[in-house]
Subunit: 410 residues, 2 copies
């Protein structure tokens, strides 16, 4: 609750709620390191946290992570519509296809569905959702007069019959402010980038340097253009952990303290969860080697480039402070300078801020960096009105006409 | 939101959120009557409505309907734990196995799973949930000191391997105030009653007369005792629609007005949804006949007893005012008298109030009946403290020792 209020006061567009439906149990073949450090366990259900956070805020958007692999589109489409109603159009769906073997085992699949097939399923899943959100209820279906709530002639069965899903319809929710929630995506594999190019309205990327991120950004924007969509309309956010204080010296001291608290096993537990690679098996001070057959090699690739090959120990220091992006420490103006450099060099539209402490990291950022960004015209003085889609892209509240979901409108 | 506040102020124990994941499309083979009158469509997702309602109340409990047929227990158990955390122990789960063909078709099953097999699945589903809620995290697993969040030796994989589900575990949420939410059930079939006798802590029944309800109540209490549980510990609530005003005359006038607004097609649409019986095919003024082969005959049976066989038109008048229980109209003391008669003759512990208007029906009840019930010592002057389980039964916050879920504790 405190975090949501801090972010709203700080002029953030949205709070991003990650999720996993399994445990990080790759490192050393055990979940122990993850459990001890609360690394994604316990992890509560983000779709039911969201309404509680929405109740204490009025502008902040919410990006909620839900997989297309473990739930039927008919019920998830209704849940997301309900959230969009409750928040008056402040919801984004971060579409994931899930990557944890432990989740697949707990959700009745025995083993993971193969990576590329997960995306095939996700494509059809989105098609079903678009039909429900965009094509089932006409804009003037709800009448609410003369004893009639809705005109049955304007509430349509969708009649979807596909390879993975059969959904006759209709949608169970009446149209919400955005109909389709803002679509977020973060897939880094070639198939994931193709999926994002077609469906995403905002994409999360990550990498240690602007140059590494720029490659992803260029690939995504080119892919979006290939799909016949406006490549600048897709907003790209890169991961970054700010460590901020009033002065450079204080920020440096804070960073030193944080670094001294990083636990190598916990960092390895997170990395094992993300990539399926058990660093316990590798020498901690020898550079990581690139493994061609690895399905999740894209996660490893950023750390085994020609520019630099990281050792597991270096990786732990990097991951330990909040994720897969750089740590930027400094005073407010120094951090603002660095953010502007990333925007220019990596061609990103904004940042997905990771944290060392919560809400501490965000409170520091709001106190020292946001006023500086406002002075520079990088953050508006007051939050813009309207739905999340309107605030992110200026258009809305419905999907853009060049988005594939718009084709399902009547 | 207004409804939740009205109920809390009125001293109600809980707000019950029904749900269907399909449309009432049996009547005349079409969903039109249901759509026109908003009969369960639109229907938003109750698990995400609940946190918003909890945010504006502090004592009111929430009974949320979720089916065991369409979602994996691993993710639902986490969702309910999250809700129990968010509400500090105010959550009940109304366990349903789903009854709509239209829901089954939209959720990838093609057709319904046969009735009794749905209960077999539900039995194993509950077993998985008990293992996750009661058996995965020990009471002192969460440490939160010395850099350790939880002791890995006290967070257990559940290792469930059954006929329908395979869930190695562990549970993803740390223990919530009630661990297992209060378990509600409403199955009226013999198999449903057997399920309720084993698992339910509160049971919803319905019937037009105290005598009809008494038969259900006796069967449930006998079944509970057969399971080795205290038959009085299971609370039984019967459905009833109050129409209340300051005087008898005003209440009678209000009832006449409500009756004049009842739509026969809409009542038939609801009945078709509940029972699968299309009343459009039957003569409206001839008594209903009992159909032995009908899987849902239990819903029909109450209306085709030796005491009275209803015609479809009479049924519409009955259903049209709020459900499957009686309509009781009168002043506050008159309605309180009638409620006391039902408690005495049907041996119920309380009521599941249906409404004609919302929150109007509940506001009237709170204004005229609740003060009278408080005078008679039937409703406490102030809401009791504690979790929903403690407020309903006096014990808690955890499952009673004689409940089958308690066997999964470590």
């Amino acid at each position: 609750m405190a975090l949501a209020r801090t972010l709203e006061d700080g002029g953030f567009d949205a709070l991003f709620l990650a999720d996993v439906l399994g445990v990080y149990d790759v490192y050393g073949g055990s979940k122990d390191a993850a459990v001890a450090d609360a690394a994604q366990i316990p992890v509560n259900e983000p779709t039911v946290l969201l309404p509680a956070l929405a109740a204490v805020t009025s502008h902040l958007g919410f990006g909620v992570t839900v997989s297309t692999t473990y739930e039927q589109p008919y019920s998830l489409a209704r849940r997301l519509s309900t959230l969009d109603h409750l928040t008056r159009g402040r919801v984004a769906w971060n579409i994931v296809t899930s990557y944890l073997d432990s989740a697949a085992r707990n959700l009745g699949l025995g083993a993971q569905v193969p990576h590329d097939e997960r995306y095939e399923i996700a494509e059809e899943y989105l098609e079903v959702c678009y039909r429900l959100w965009e094509g089932s209820w006409e804009d003037d279906a709800v009448v609410r007069s003369g004893g009639v709530y809705a005109d049955p002639a304007k509430v349509h069965d969708i009649g979807h019959q596909g390879k993975y899903f059969s959904v006759p319809g209709p949608h169970l929710s009446e149209p919400s402010p955005q109909r389709t929630p803002v679509l977020f995506q973060a897939g880094a594999s070639p198939r994931g980038v193709r999926f994002a190019a077609r469906h995403a309205e905002a994409v999360f990327v990550s990498g240690p340097t602007p140059r590494a991120v720029r490659r992803s950004v260029d690939a995504i924007r080119a892919g979006v253009a290939e799909q016949g969509r406006d490549p600048r309309a897709v907003k790209i956010f890169t991961m970054l952990t700010p460590v901020v204080a009033e002065t450079s010296e204080e920020a440096a001291a804070k960073l030193r303290e944080y670094r001294s608290l990083v636990s190598v096993p916990v960092a390895f537990a997170r990395f094992g969860g993300w990539t399926g690679v058990d660093l316990a098996e590798l020498p901690v001070d020898e550079p990581l080697t690139y493994r061609d057959g690895d399905a999740n090699r894209s996660a490893l690739a950023a750390f085994t480039t020609a520019e630099r090959a990281w050792t597991p120990r270096e990786l732990a220091g990097f991951i330990g402070l909040g994720g897969r992006g750089p740590v930027v420490a400094g005073s407010g103006p120094e951090v603002a300078d660095e953010l502007e450099r990333w925007v220019a060099e990596a061609d990103v539209d904004g940042f997905n801020l990771a944290y060392v402490t919560t809400p501490g990291t965000f409170a520091d950022f709001t106190r020292w960096v946001v006023p500086e960004l406002r002075r520079r015209g990088r953050v508006p003085a007051r939050p813009a009105e309207g739905t999340l889609r309107e605030r992110l892209g200026g258009e809305g509240p419905r999907l853009a006409a060049d988005h594939p979901g718009a084709a399902y409108r009547r």
